[in-house]
C-alpha cells in the first residue's frame, strides 16, 4: 500500500489535461507498456512562443498519472526555454511528496517534456527508443543508460544504488546491473569531489586575507573550540599563509601528550571538512 497524499490522489482521481493536443507543436513519448509505465506529452505554443495547451496520456500507476497531470499544469504559459529547465523535483514539489520508490514517475514527466521540446525543435531526443539513445545501456530490464544514471544522480544528488532505482528504475528488476551502477556512482562522485575541491581551494585563496582569517576564525570558534573546551583546552589563531593555518594550542592542550593527534585529526580534520582538503594546520 502506498501512502499517497491528498494532492497526488486528487491528480490521480481527477487528472487534468488528459488527451492529445490537436495539431500539436511538440509531442514526446517516453517509457513503454512492457516496462510498466509510459507517458506521451503534447503541447501547442501561442504566438509569443508560450505553451498555451498541454495534454498527456499515461499508462502507469497512480503516481505516474498524478505526475503527468501535475506536469501539464506546471508548464502552462511557459516559454520553451523556461520549460526546458523543469526537473523532476519541480513535479514532486507540486505534488507535495511522492513515495521514494515512486520518484521515477516524476523523472518520467521531466523526460517526456524534454522529448516533446526536442521534437518541436526537430532534434533527436536523448530519451528516445531503445535503439536511439545516448550512452550505453546498463540496466537491460528497463533500458537505462549510463548517461541517464549519471544525469539522474547529479540532478538529485543520489549516492546509493537504491536511490538510483527509485528515481529511474535501473536495477529494479533482475538486479544483475547493481554492481555496475555502484561503480558508475563511485566514479561519478569521485570525479565530482576532485572537481569541486580544487575549485573550492581556488575560491578560498582568491579571497582577501582578512576574509580568509575571518572564515577560519569562525570555524575555530564554532566547531573547534567547543570540542577542545570539553577537555579544558583552548586554541588561538596565530597566522595564515596560503593553505597553511598557524595556531597555538592553549590550556590543557598545550601540555597534553596527545596534542599532535588533536591538531591533526581534530583541528585539521574540521578545517579540511569545512574548507578544502588541502588545508594544513601547524602548531607554533
Amino acid at each position: 500500500m502506498w501512502d499517497y497524499n491528498d494532492k497526488v490522489m486528487d491528480h490521480f482521481l481527477h487528472p487534468r489535461n488528459v488527451g492529445e493536443v490537436k495539431d500539436a507543436d511538440g509531442v514526446g513519448q517516453v517509457g513503454n507498456m512492457s516496462c510498466g509505465d509510459a507517458l506521451k506529452l503534447s503541447f501547442k505554443l501561442d504566438k509569443d512562443g508560450r505553451i498555451c495547451e498541454a495534454k498527456f496520456q499515461t499508462f502507469g500507476c497512480a503516481s505516474a498519472i498524478a505526475s503527468s497531470s501535475a506536469l501539464t499544469e506546471l508548464i502552462q504559459g511557459m516559454t520553451l526555454d523556461e520549460a526546458e529547465k523543469i526537473t523532476n523535483k519541480d513535479i514532486v514539489n507540486i505534488l507535495g511528496d511522492l513515495p521514494e520508490a515512486k520518484l521515477h514517475c516524476s523523472v518520467m514527466g521531466m523526460e517526456a517534456l524534454q522529448a516533446a521540446i526536442a521534437n518541436y525543435r526537430g532534434e533527436e531526443s536523448e530519451h528516445g527508443s531503445e535503439d536511439n539513445h545516448v550512452g550505453r545501456i546498463v540496466c537491460k530490464c528497463f533500458s537505462v543508460t549510463d548517461t541517464k544514471i549519471r544525469k539522474t544522480a547529479i540532478n538529485n544528488n543520489l549516492h546509493t544504488v537504491e536511490e538510483i532505482t527509485d528515481y529511474c528504475k535501473a536495477g529494479g528488476a533482475c538486479g544483475s546491473c547493481l554492481e555496475e551502477i555502484q561503480d558508475i556512482l563511485d566514479g561519478l562522485w569521485k570525479e565530482k569531489k576532485t572537481e569541486s575541491t580544487s575549485s573550492k581551494q581556488a575560491e578560498f585563496l582568491s579571497l582577501p586575507l582578512i576574509q580568509r582569517v575571518l572564515k577560519v576564525q569562525e570555524i575555530i570558534d564554532s566547531e573547534v573550540k567547543p570540542m577542545l573546551e570539553q577537555d579544558g583546552g583552548g586554541i588561538d589563531l596565530i597566522d595564515m599563509k596560503d593553505n597553511v593555518v598557524f595556531v597555538k594550542l592553549t590550556g590543557h592542550c598545550a601540555s597534553c601528550p596527545s596534542a599532535g593527534v588533536t591538531l591533526k585529526s581534530g583541528v585539521e580534520a574540521v578545517l579540511k571538512d569545512c574548507l578544502f582538503p588541502e588545508i594544513v594546520v601547524e602548531n607554533v
Partner: protein, 395 residues
C-alpha cells in the same frame, strides 16, 4: 465514494479470523497463559489442547496415522507457511546430504521460489519446471529434469495468483521413482479443497493458518511418518524436538478450530463460492472489453480468478477500486515493491504489457452476491476511466 463498505476479495492474501476461532483462542491470553512444557498442571494441562489442535489439523488434511501411544505425530506447528516451506526443503537437503539437486515449478510462491534462488547462490543446482500459457505444468520437462541425484522436488498444490491446481500426487510418484523426497506448498489449497494424506505419496506439505480463517503467525508442516527429518530451528524439545520454541498456544488452538470449521460442509461452501466467482468473472468479462481470464480455467481453486485488463496498469486499477472499498490484488510491478511484473505471468509467457494489468480476485465463504454485483456494476467505469488516460500510448 466516501460512504464505502468494505468488499474483501483478497482472500488468497489473507482471510478474516472466523469469530468461532477468535472465541476459541480468547482464554489463552490472560487466563490460561501457562507454558505447555511446564510440570505444573496450570501450564502442563495446555499440552492436551495443543494435541487436540493437532488432531483437528490432522483430520483436515487426512493425516490419520497415529503412533503407538495413539497420538497424531505427522503435523508440526510452525510460525507460518514460509517457515514450513523453508524447513521442508532445507531439511531434505540435509538428510540427503549426498544429493544436492532441487526441482521446483517456475511459478512457486516466493516462500519457495526465492529459497530456490538462494540455494542456487549457495551452490545447489536448482531446476524450475516450466508451465504453458495457461500455467499448466510441463510434466514431460519435469520427467526430463529429474534424476537419481535429485534430493527434493517441491511443487505447489495450487498457485496463489491463478488458482491453478497442480497434479501433486503424480509429481510425488515420479519423485519417488528417482528416490527424491516430495514437498508441496499447499498454503492456498488446505481448507479450500479436500486433502487426504493417508492415501498420498506426498512426503511433506506446508499450510498456513491465516489463509483459512485462523490468525497470522501460525502454520504447520505435515511430515509423513517415516520420512527422515532434520530440524532447522534448534533449541528446546517442543514439537518432539522437531521445531524448537515455546508453542504459540492461542494461535495453534485457533488453527485447530479453523481446520475443524473448514471441514464442515466443504463441498457445499465450495459450490457457493465457485458460483460467486463465476458470476464475477462472467460479469466483468461480458461488461468490459479487452478482458481476459488467465490460468487453467477447468482446473482451478473455486475461489480465485485472475483477470487481465488490457492497456492499463494494475496499481492504478487497485487504487481506484480502493476508493469504492473493493480490495483485490495484482501481480503488477508497482504494488509489490519490486519493479518487475509477476514471475508467474512471465513464466506463462504473458507479455509484460498485459501482465501489468492483471487483477486477482479471491473470494471466501463470507462474500455475498450483493458484493459481487456491486463490483460488476462499478468496475466498467473504473476501467474505462483509466483506459481513457492511457489511450494513445503506443505499445
Amino acid at each position: 465514494m466516501t460512504d464505502k463498505k468494505l468488499i474483501y476479495l483478497d482472500n488468497n492474501a489473507t482471510t478474516a479470523v472466523a469469530p468461532e476461532v477468535f472465541e476459541a483462542m480468547r482464554p489463552y491470553f490472560c487466563e490460561q497463559y501457562g507454558n505447555p512444557g511446564s510440570i505444573h498442571a496450570f501450564g502442563g494441562s495446555i499440552m492436551s489442547k495443543i494435541e487436540h489442535a493437532r488432531a483437528q489439523v490432522s483430520a483436515l488434511i487426512g493425516a490419520t496415522r497415529k503412533d503407538r501411544h495413539d497420538k497424531f505425530t505427522e503435523v508440526i506447528f510452525t510460525s507460518c507457511g514460509t517457515e514450513s516451506d523453508n524447513t521442508a526443503i532445507n531439511s531434505a537437503l540435509q538428510v540427503c546430504h549426498k544429493k544436492k539437486k532441487v526441482i521446483m515449478s517456475a511459478v512457486e510462491h516466493p516462500a519457495v521460489f526465492s529459497l530456490g534462488k538462494d540455494l542456487e547462490k549457495r551452490g545447489y543446482p536448482v531446476s524450475y519446471v516450466p508451465v504453458d500459457s495457461h500455467g499448466a505444468l510441463d510434466m514431460e520437462r519435469y520427467e526430463e529434469m529429474i534424476d537419481t541425484e535429485t534430493a527434493i522436488v517441491s511443487i505447489m498444490w495450487a498457485n496463489n495468483e491463478t488458482g491453478n491446481i497442480y497434479p501433486v500426487e503424480k509429481c510425488a510418484e515420479i519423485a519417488h521413482r528417482y528416490g527424491a523426497l516430495f514437498h508441496t506448498d499447499a498454503v492456498q489449497t488446505i481448507g479450500k479443497i479436500p486433502c487426504n494424506m493417508a492415501d498420498s505419496q506426498i512426503d511433506m506439505l506446508s499450510l498456513s493458518g491465516h489463509k483459512l480463517h485462523a490468525p497470522k503467525g501460525v502454520g504447520a508442516l505435515y511430515l509423513r511418518r517415516g520420512v527422515r527429518f532434520r530440524p532447522v530451528q534448534i533449541g528446546g524439545h517442543q514439537e518432539r524436538g522437531r521445531r524448537a520454541g515455546t508453542e504459540n498456544v492461542a494461535s495453534i488452538i485457533g488453527l485447530g478450530k479453523a481446520a475443524e470449521l473448514a471441514m464442515r460442509s466443504m463441498e457445499e461452501k465450495n459450490t457457493r463460492i465457485k458460483a460467486l466467482r463465476d458470476r464475477l468473472e462472467r460479469g466483468l468479462c461480458e461488461n468490459i472489453p479487452k478482458t481476459k481470464v488467465f490460468g487453467d480455467i477447468k482446473n482451478r481453486l473455486p475461489n480465485t480468478t485472475l483477470i487481465g485488463f488490457e492497456s492499463i496498469e494494475g496499481e492504478s486499477i487497485l487504487m481506484m477500486m480502493d476508493c469504492f472499498g473493493i480490495c483485490a490484488s495484482s501481480g503488477s510491478a508497482c504494488t509489490t515493491g519490486s519493479l518487475e511484473p509477476s514471475h508467474v505471468l512471465r513464466a506463462m509467457g504473458i507479455p509484460d504489457a498485459i501482465a501489468h494489468g492483471a487483477i486477482r480476485f479471491s473470494l471466501s465463504v463470507y462474500n455475498t452476491q450483493e458484493e459481487i454485483d456491486f463490483v460488476i456494476k462499478e468496475m466498467p467505469a473504473i476501467i474505462a476511466h483509466l483506459r481513457k488516460i492511457s489511450e494513445g500510448i503506443e505499445h
